[in-house]
């Protein structure tokens, strides 16, 4: 009895996919966080973005059949690599995209290299993906920690914010952001007046904010993420920090976080992103379609979703050029060879280490009275050109380039 039940369970898991390769049939797997922390910055919105890319591409290339799957890695590296293995081995998936959560992304990059498929990271932050852990099968699209630190640090110092105090989440990610940003601030003539490290998932930031306030620094850098960032911004508003003349700089902030805070609380916050829905006509048109299909009130598309769209599109173009998706390494080489061009990020390129290059923007959150329509969140304070936005090739320590 037990055995029968178990066998049926088996049959059901592995009746997963029987792909048939006719002309050119491509399967794209969106591996993302559908249910927890990153579900709003990626999740269902990313899946939709990939489907939109597939639809757009098939309009121009009726001979290529694109299918898009989604999977939820639940922020577990083992679940993620398990899904990736199954997708590659029996599901007929050729490319995995998105993968928020650096820990899972690093695991997926490894699986993808072993199976010689393609991995396009849009969700993960770790700049190691194109640094020491770079791979000929990986493209890192939207953003990374180096770019966040550099973009925010440099642009703010240049616009006058030359004294800093850091609120740092006390683990590797926060430390890295703080270290990189401090280096940039100091290199550009700014000064770091102090820092305080708070544990992950802290509810009450008032003690830390008081320290930041009494440091008299012009800029308070938030080297944290998610709920911690939201809590610190909310309570900074309560203590009147922005009104008192200090500026908050978020080192990892997404449009969905601003949505969660509301403008009255978030106003004046400065941070870097590589895409914003209201940036230009093409982005606005895309967002309109996204909204129509997403059909969820109160959601905004994030740069990660834009990255999924653009990444999928460019991958499909490379496959069409090669007329084959069999050899992942060859497809990535082709992706690097072809310049990128899409409605969301414009023209750009993918560097030898797998880094996608595009401009980044320093945004400031508008005051409520400046916001004219729903989702009108940001004004652009500075544009960082593509060749300055990301870490120089030689500094990354990627074995593909140095070796």
């Amino acid at each position: 009895m037990k055995k029968i039940a178990a066998l049926t369970a088996f049959a059901t898991i592995f009746a997963f996919g029987s792909a048939s390769a006719q002309q050119v049939a491509v399967k794209v797997g969106v591996l993302t966080d559908m249910s927890s922390l990153y579900a709003d910055v990626t999740g269902p919105g990313s899946f939709l973005a990939a489907r939109m890319a597939a639809a757009d591409f098939m309009k121009d290339h009726p001979d290529v059949k694109v299918e898009v799957l989604s999977g939820d890695h639940q922020n577990k590296a083992d679940v993620g690599s398990q899904i990736a293995n199954q997708w590659y081995d029996v599901g007929g998936v050729d490319m995995i995209i998105d993968v928020p959560n650096s820990g899972v992304a690093l695991a997926i990059a490894e699986v993808t290299r072993q199976k010689n498929k393609v991995f396009i990271g849009s969700g993960p932050a770790s700049s190691d993906l194109t640094g020491p852990k770079c791979s000929p099968n990986t493209v890192h699209w939207t953003y990374d920690t180096w770019m966040l630190a550099n973009g925010t640090g440099k642009a703010i110092v240049k616009t006058g914010g030359d004294t800093w105090f850091f609120l740092t989440s006390d683990y590797a990610f926060g430390h890295a952001l703080e270290r990189d940003t401090s280096a940039v601030v100091e290199a550009n003539g700014g000064k770091v007046l102090g820092k305080v490290r708070h544990p992950l998932n802290t509810n009450d930031f008032s003690s830390f904010l008081l320290q930041a306030q009494s440091s008299k620094a012009k800029v308070i850098g938030l080297a944290n993420a998610g709920g911690d960032t939201i809590n610190s911004i909310k309570q900074a508003a309560e203590f009147g920090i922005v009104k008192g003349g200090q500026n908050l700089a978020g080192l990892l902030v997404f449009a969905s976080d601003i949505n969660a805070l509301g403008l009255p609380t978030a106003q004046g916050l400065i941070f870097t992103e590589t895409w914003y829905w209201d940036l230009n006509d093409a982005s606005r048109a895309w967002t309109k379609r996204w909204h129509a299909e997403r059909n969820a009130t109160g959601k905004v598309p994030t740069m990660n979703m834009a990255g999924v769209y653009a990444g999928t599109l460019h991958y499909l173009k490379a496959v069409a050029a090669l007329k084959s998706d069999a050899d992942g390494r060859a497809v990535v080489a082709q992706m690097k060879k072809m310049p990128t061009d899409d409605p969301l990020f414009g023209k750009g390129e993918i560097r030898a280490d797998g880094r996608k290059l595009h401009p980044a923007y320093l945004f400031e959150v508008k005051k409520p009275e400046e916001s004219k329509y729903p989702g009108d969140f940001y004004k652009v304070r500075a544009t960082i050109p593509a060749n300055e936005a990301f870490r120089p090739l030689k500094d990354g320590g990627c074995p593909l380039v140095s070796g």
Binding site: N203, K234, G262, T265
Partner: protein
């Protein structure tokens, strides 16, 4: 200005006050747990989820009906309390005769359901909730800037905590409650509807959690996961205090808030583990908890 252990005294007083605010939340939540445990013998794992429901109820009331913070402060606990009553009637009452651990497992499952459903409908990033107009701004106390809202949190939660203590320890209704905890059959024989009392007690405990949730909405991130981390800390608070005494739960809550606040000054990296460390020490020295009877 003088210094204590190298920390300016004004920072120290500031932190003490801020610690009390943290403590307000611990006190409200551990009080709710203690009330429920006293009557139902169940440790309510969904307490954190119900605290989150309170905050969400406040958001929904504002977004859909335009009812502001002050209405929410009354309505959200009522709505969530009613939900609690439904939970007790439909689920919990089937397991009173079983080992207490089943209560823990059942409410844990319930917490997962509540959190999962909320996340599916409202996402994980959280929802905005603006500070009520009347409580914006703050006072300069000389040694620190105290936002008005913080002062209000301390006052409100102290009031609610003490009122609860008063009702349970000093009124006739409270006497019935305590008697029913000791010997339900006997109290039932006196013509008092004990099952009804149990139901209402659970509803009340849940309402306390929701009340804390509304208080948290303007200052903490209103997100589906806001309760799940907090509840583990509150469990530690409850272990330290022991659940035998209402006043004990309140005092421990405020006290640990202060200690946590001070840790943020002297050793910020440890501020989220300090309560667990204190728990370990208390278990070594006084296994029954500070105010607890040996169970």
């Amino acid at each position: 200005m003088f210094e204590i252990f190298g920390i300016p005294s004004q920072a120290l007083f500031g932190q003490l006050l801020i610690g009390l605010i943290n403590g307000s939340f611990y006190a409200l939540l551990s009080l709710g747990l203690a009330v429920i445990f006293g009557m139902l013998n169940i440790i309510n794992f969904s307490h954190g989820a119900q605290y989150m429901m309170g905050a969400f109820a406040a958001y929904l009331l504002l977004a859909h009906t335009g009812l502001n913070y002050w209405f929410a402060l009354v309505l959200a606990p009522l709505v969530v309390g009613a939900f609690g009553i439904a939970v007790e009637r439909l689920l919990l009452r089937w397991i009173y005769r079983l080992d207490h651990l089943y209560g823990l497992l059942l409410t844990f499952g319930l917490a997962l359901i509540i959190e999962g459903v909320t996340r599916n409908y409202y996402g994980s990033a959280g929802l905005p909730y603006a500070m009520p107009e009347a409580l914006r701004g703050g006072q300069n106390l000389g040694f620190m800037f105290l936002p008005n809202y913080r002062a209000w949190v301390i006052v409100a939660s102290l009031t609610v905590c003490l009122a609860t203590w008063f009702v349970i320890e000093r009124t006739r209704l409270g006497a019935y409650l305590r008697a029913a905890t000791e010997n339900p059959t006997l109290v039932n024989a006196f013509g008092i509807n004990v099952p009804m009392m149990i139901t209402l007690t659970y509803g009340f405990g849940v309402a306390l959690a929701a009340f804390a949730g509304v208080m948290a909405a303007p200052i903490y991130n209103v997100s589906p996961q806001m309760g799940s981390e907090l509840i583990i800390v509150v469990f530690a608070v409850v272990v330290i205090g022991g659940m035998g005494s209402i006043l004990g739960a309140i005092l421990t809550g405020f006290g640990l808030g202060v200690i946590e606040g001070l840790t943020k000054v002297f050793f910020p990296e440890a501020s989220n583990t300090v309560i667990f460390v204190i728990m370990a020490i208390v278990l070594l020295v006084r296994p029954a908890g500070l105010f607890g009877r040996r169970v």
